[in-house]
């Protein structure tokens, strides 16, 4: 699963769902892969205002990836004066779209439940006593 996805996911338990402590899920023992994908400036531009930037920063730090800017980049930071993708956009693209979690765990900061990731697929099914 590409890293962008982690910004949409929280703990599946109803008792954690809306709690700030449950988001973002913390990657543990995560094996990452980087696969170059086509630059998708339209998507990044569209999705950027919808992202929880602090959660992005937390996840990148925990994964030992290069630090993100302190604030969400502004739309005008995404293109150079001649309309080409800026370095900021390229960096964001590598992080959000080219980087993926292949295996490991996603851990809830509130209840401690661990969701396994195998072959790039996270499993959010809960045992009965947690539903």
């Amino acid at each position: 699963m590409k890293l962008l996805t982690l910004n949409f996911l929280t703990c599946a338990r109803k008792t954690c769902k809306s709690l700030p402590a449950a988001f973002p899920l913390h990657p543990r023992e995560a094996e990452l892969e980087q696969v170059e994908t086509d630059m998708n400036a339209a998507l990044i531009k569209n999705i950027l205002p919808r992202l929880e930037w602090d959660a992005m920063k937390t996840v990148t730090t925990e994964l030992g990836l290069p630090n993100l800017p302190a604030e969400t980049p502004a739309p005008e930071d995404l293109a150079t004066a001649d309309g080409e993708p800026s370095q900021t956009l390229k960096d964001l693209h590598v992080l959000l779209m080219d980087t993926a979690v292949v295996s490991g765990k996603l851990v809830c900061g509130n209840c401690g439940h661990e969701y396994a990731v195998k072959e790039g697929i996270a499993n959010f099914l809960l045992p009965s006593h947690m539903v």
Partner: protein, 458 residues
């Protein structure tokens, strides 16, 4: 000038909805001057402020799946003398511009056919336009078509059109490319290429958009959305369907179509306990929920009291931490699932974002009895029907209203009824038989209908 859209004569109730969705997505204003479910020819007019209608027509047709081409309408009439009069009146001033270019004439007869000799005679009757350019069967500069519309078994056509081709759709290429027979990974429930692509059009899938399928299966809808440039992800209660086997997986399908860049990934989850945050991030949600036709609906949980506590294995470790643990699932009712999908969509879609949801209905055609599920924050955009013998299925498309358009009282009432309903279903103290659930459901829907009449945001 008006335009003739050449549709395919199938999936009739989807055709206008698809065209309307594309027009809306591309910002084209148009009106239907003539449309009949019984014929493949429809007439439209662009009504927007931009004068350049040829490019509008090409944009409108390019991604259509249920239309094959669009033509400038040069004339129309119930018989040939009237058609010729109409063509002279509408277009004689334009003929000189086409006089020396290469051209081709064809006849497109619906519900009838003409022998070759009769076709030649017919084409000769258009000689008054005096085109003197070379006739080119391949890649002519201008391609003119006589459209003949007949009723089944009628001796002569009752409506005629004459048009100049301005654009063709990608229907043929897309259907060949996404044909299930040539797809790496499919299952018996995979939606066919044609209706998957139509659904993606109704969801207004496009570059830059983010679209999610909560019942992804083998990925038919996300694949179709990625075809139109959208970025997609999905989930499924059954991890095996995402993972597939060996080289056959959802991911491999995206690789086959060279859209792996558009695929964020899949995860295993249940819509009633979704890990997706309550936040408005999605441009589209597209799904064909599993309605339990084969195996009964299942969600996570169990009605067995013993399973509400942690289960320990004989070695003292909790069962749910085991590598091969399979969570128990309980029955789940159809209406509850529809409600869950609508509520999820209302909470997850951005303003104007679309939900496309398929649902099966007992009975076909006019006889089918069913109620369209509603949510105060979702406006029904279109309802399309695919009829089978004794049942049919509907594709319901909704758009997320702007928050300011949602009736706050209706929303509160909806949520209150929903929580009462789920209490009644999952509370251990309430014995629910199918009958009292149905009666409850009836009141539930009736109460909501009265409310929704005043709260509709359209």
């Amino acid at each position: 000038m008006d335009y003739l859209i050449r549709f395919v004569q199938m999936h009739e109730s989807f055709r206008q909805a698809e065209t309307d969705a594309i027009a809306d997505l591309e910002g084209l204003q148009m009106q239907w001057l003539h449309y009949s479910a019984d014929a493949p020819f429809a007439i439209i007019r662009f009504t927007g402020p931009t004068g350049e209608t040829t490019s509008a027509a090409r944009t409108l047709i390019a991604r259509s799946i249920l239309a094959t081409s669009i033509h400038e309408l040069w004339g129309t009439g119930p018989d040939y003398p009237t058609l010729h009069t109409s063509i002279r009146a509408l277009t004689s001033a334009q003929w000189p511009a086409y006089q020396h270019t290469s051209f081709r004439f064809t006849i497109d007869s619906y519900h009838s056919s003409r022998p070759l000799a009769s076709q030649h005679t017919l084409i000769e009757s258009f000689a008054y336009m005096s085109f003197t350019g070379p006739i080119a069967m391949r890649n002519p500069a201008n391609h003119f078509t006589v459209f003949e519309e007949s009723r089944l078994d009628a001796p002569t056509p009752h409506r005629l059109y004459f048009g100049r081709l301005v654009g063709a759709s990608g229907r043929k290429q897309a259907l060949v490319k996404y044909n299930l027979k040539k797809r790496t990974y499919i299952a018996t429930t995979s939606m066919d290429a044609e209706l998957s692509l139509v659904t993606a059009n109704l969801a207004q899938a496009a570059a830059g958009k983010l679209i999610y399928d909560p019942f992804m299966g083998t990925g038919s809808f996300p694949l179709a959305c990625a075809h139109f440039g959208a970025t997609v992800f999905g989930s499924d209660l059954d991890g095996r369907s995402i993972r597939g086997q060996g080289a056959r997986s959802v991911k491999a399908n995206f690789e086959q179509y060279a859209t792996a860049s558009n695929y964020l990934g899949g995860f295993v989850a249940d819509l009633t306990n979704t890990p997706l945050r309550h936040t408005r991030t999605l441009d589209g949600i597209i799904c064909d929920p599993p309605y339990g036709v084969r195996e009964g609906l299942k969600v996570l949980g169990s009605t067995r009291v013993a399973l509400k506590e942690v289960v320990y294995l004989s070695d003292g470790t909790p069962a749910h931490l085991g590598a091969n643990y399979i969570p128990p699932k309980k029955g789940y009712r159809f209406e509850r699932m529809l409600d869950d999908v609508l509520s999820f969509a209302a909470e997850g879609l951005v303003e104007g974002g679309r939900l496309c949801m398929w649902m099966p209905v007992a009975g076909a055609g006019e006889e089918a009895e069913y109620e369209i599920p509603r949510h105060p924050a979702l406006r029904l955009v279109s309802e399309c029907t695919q009829d089978f013998n004794k049942w049919s299925r509907r594709l319901l498309t909704y758009a997320r209203c702007a928050d300011g358009e949602v009736d706050a009282d209706a929303l509160l009432a909806y949520r209150a009824r929903r929580s009462v309903l789920s209490e009644a279903e999952i509370g251990p103290e309430v014995k629910t038989t199918a009958n009292n659930l149905n009666a409850f459901r009836k009141r539930y829907f009736e109460g909501f209908r009265e409310r929704s009449a005043e709260s509709r945001c359209d």
